[in-house]
Symmetry: C2
Subunit: 143 residues, 2 copies
Amino acid sequence: MYEKYVKLLKDHNLKITSPRLEILKYLDEHHTHPNVEAIYSSLKKKHPSLSRTTVYNSLETMEKNRIVQSLTISGSEHRYDLNKSLHHHFLCTRCGIILDIDIACPNMDKTLQGGHHVEEVHGYFKGICKNCQKKEKGWRTNG
Amino acid sequence: MYEKYVKLLKDHNLKITSPRLEILKYLDEHHTHPNVEAIYSSLKKKHPSLSRTTVYNSLETMEKNRIVQSLTISGSEHRYDLNKSLHHHFLCTRCGIILDIDIACPNMDKTLQGGHHVEEVHGYFKGICKNCQKKEKGWRTNG
DNA sequence: ATACTATTTTGTAATTATTACAATTTAGTT
DNA sequence: AACTAAATTGTAATAATTACAAAATAGTAT
């Protein structure tokens, strides 16, 4: 059940704790790029002793170990992602959904730019998602 | 003196106001990608009646009109840029400086990705800048 | 199994950035 | 000079995050 998350943590010499395992499981099962509040309020149901601060702490630790990735695209909150293969993200400014965008990008795996040591690369698109456009069209047609 | 900022605002049918002109001038003269606080505290000296809220309001309006650009790279605050040619950004996680990165990128001018309507494209690199690396090396050698 | 210690979790109290809002002022027009 | 919509201002809220200290726990050594 939790073997793969245990392995992930062990591989980074991190202690195996319930909050960390649950957060990893949550991210693995929800590809919604949730914010802290979403993770916290969902896990809190099954684990009432969970603290919001723990979610912050755990994510911070796992981010430092590159197990999870923090997206700053929204500008008002951090949103999280299991750190799998490199990919871009799209934020819908209408509904707030963040979607994975898999496109070729020659700059994604750079470790040096302009003489600076690069540790992270982020490609963000912002706009209106397919779904929200459909909704707006529908309303306009009906109105 | 302020002609070009006046023109920028006029071209977007925005009213010509002192706060807007001063903010544009500040951004034009400081390529530091400042946050609201930096802009506010600098302008406040010469214009004591300026309100922090006005800086927020002005930047919001000018961002909607694509006169300025908001960078969310830092994750804790918005940082601003005069919206000139498309380019990437590098954030130093040590000193917080944001630098322009001019590299070719085939995805920078996309208006559609995965069927979604794209209005903004951001390319962010995070890491340790040349200068901070130099400092760290120096200290270690001397220690 | 037990004891030990560093790490983690937890809850509360700050802090920081940003937004809401209502009153006043002002830009652009009549 | 008067008008009106928009912008500015200050204060009060809100939202996300961090600081901190006490309690609990994981992993290790005994």
